[in-house]
């Protein structure tokens, strides 16, 4: 039972990062390996704000998330929207170069030791013998709520429809008079905002590190591959599944190989269903 809870708690951060990445990847087709960096910044920034500037916790978390959104807009407006005609391999390198730049700057700023933002509620519930910190429940509920909200936004609002149109055919979308660049930035803003939300909440319950962005981006990619690209709920479920696989592997086989279980599982999924576990014909 404890393994299930641990896995789900860890999995929700993968879910939120994955859901944000699905949006970015399906709308603008950028292999954004820097997706973990806004998450990392939103996780690291609040503690700095609190200790050095005396910002109260809720405001510090909001500023962290705002910083993540700003990074997303910056990625879009300053980098990827300008490179839309570049070959994919160049985009891949640019996104990895951003990872190198941002994470080395973050290490200079914050060092690379793990830390946690204090001040979250520390009530621990007891359910069927499993210890569940209340913060974990907050994270899970937020993840679920934000995924529902994003799903509604994409399928029932006008900007959502526009993004689906861009996902389907960016060129045709532009011909229809859609301000493609603005929605490019919007997709990045929402996707990075979700990652930021995940990071800010996560830092209240788990240790975070300035070097964690790359590994989380990779896991977000694994999650959207599980999901079969372009499906929001697939990414949500994929994240939880990845969390469970890691948690069970770590406690039943060997904790040193925690990450390996996720990767082996990914390779197994690709062997059985190359199009993804929950592949359906949907776009965004």
């Amino acid at each position: 039972m404890q393994d299930i809870v641990n896995g789900l708690a860890q999995g929700t951060i993968y879910s939120m990062a994955g859901v944000g990445l699905v949006l970015i990847f399906s709308v603008v087709r950028v292999p954004n390996f820097a997706h973990g960096e806004p998450l990392m910044v939103a996780a690291m920034l609040p503690l700095t704000l609190m200790t050095f500037y005396g910002v109260p916790l809720p405001l510090a978390l909001l500023i962290g998330i705002a910083a993540a959104i700003a990074m997303g807009v910056f990625f879009s407006a300053a980098v990827f929207a300008r490179l839309s005609r570049y070959p994919e391999v160049a985009l891949l390198i640019v996104s990895l170069a951003l990872v190198v730049l941002i994470s080395s700057a973050a290490v200079m700023l914050w060092g690379d030791s793990p830390r946690q933002t204090p001040g979250g509620p520390d009530i621990i519930l007891d359910l069927l013998g499993a210890r569940i910190p209340i913060m974990w429940l907050v994270i899970m509920v937020t993840a679920l709520a934000s995924t529902v909200a994003l799903d509604f936004f994409i399928s029932h609002t006008s900007p959502g429809r526009i993004m689906r149109a861009m996902a389907l055919n960016p060129f045709a979308a532009q011909l229809m008079g859609i301000p493609v660049k603005r929605y490019h930035a919007l997709a990045f803003a929402i996707g990075s905002g979700l990652a930021g939300l995940a990071g800010a909440l996560f830092s209240l319950a788990f240790a975070v590190q300035s070097t964690m962005g790359a590994a989380l981006a990779l896991k977000a990619f694994i999650v959207i591959i599980f999901a079969g690209m372009g499906s929001i709920w697939g990414a949500f479920a994929g994240g939880l599944l990845l969390g469970l696989v890691e948690s069970f592997g770590a406690s039943y086989i060997s904790s040193g190989y925690r990450d390996t279980f996720g990767f082996v599982f990914l390779l197994a999924v690709l062997l059985i269903r190359p199009a993804g576990l929950f592949a359906r014909k949907t776009n965004a």
């Binding site: 160049a90 200079m108 990619f221 694994i222 190989y257 996720g262």
Partner: protein
Amino acid sequence: MHRLTAFLPWLLLLAAMAAVLATGNGYYVTVAMLMMLWAILALGLNFILGYAGYFHLGLGAFYGLGAYGAAAFSASYQMPMIVALLVMPAAGALISVVIGPLMLRTRDLHFAVATLALGMIVSDVTNNWVAVTGGPMGMGGISRPGQIGIGALSIDGATTSGMFIITAAIFLALMIVAAIARRSDFVLILRGIKSDDMMTRSLGFSTTRYKVAAFAIAGAIASVGGVLYAHIVQYISPEPFTFFAASFQAFVVLAVGGLGSLWGPVLGSVLLTGLPEILEMDPHVKLLVYGAVLLIVTIVLPRGLASMGRVLSARARASANAKTKEKQT
């Protein structure tokens, strides 16, 4: 005339190697060795990434395989370097042939993430399988080959310059193979796969077989690189084979140099291996500068350094055309 210009880069390369060796400066020789090492990795990667267009982000797995294999042969079984040099590439190719058909069912981003995962698994294993790999402490005691050859032609592999000659010989041999391969039907078919897999298959080529072969060549050459690394540094630990240190670096050397070009791997390696050596800075600042250079080179020259000549001459021609037009009007 054309033939002559084709030989020019080779002469330049040989001259540069001889010059470095002649200085006898251990530091220059070592840096040049590292440059050749990265050129070797990138040149192997060129087959799957440059020609076939598959984003292989797990080369570090094979690089690590070669290095750990070499360490085991040398430190645990006291075998000479040549054994590792023959066995490890074969092992790398064999593993590639086994997992290749699985990995190559995917393409584009899926393939990139699958190979990335492969590299991560190997990193995890090198860190955790302490009994065989020594874990984070790594393995030492890798002995270099001693005297090779006879009389005036003999080299001492134990010295840095001896190791340089061995590395250079392997590097040149691989460069020549790569130069020949570029004109072969094999590479032509790989290029066909890159531009249109389905079309190539409809022409009667079993594309999976060609892709697996390209994947295996990359794996085998990366293993050769690993064996060389183990004998150059004589100590290995998991760190140099992690994603950013190995797979990403090889990917970047090739992409910055020029995908699918013969001299791209060499140019990319000279720039990207040389640059951090010239910059004597705090390691974090160095990383920052490295990322920035990477960003700038990719944005300015998306087709790599090897395309620089073409880009410049195209610009020159364009401006010359503009001038003649101005004169006409």
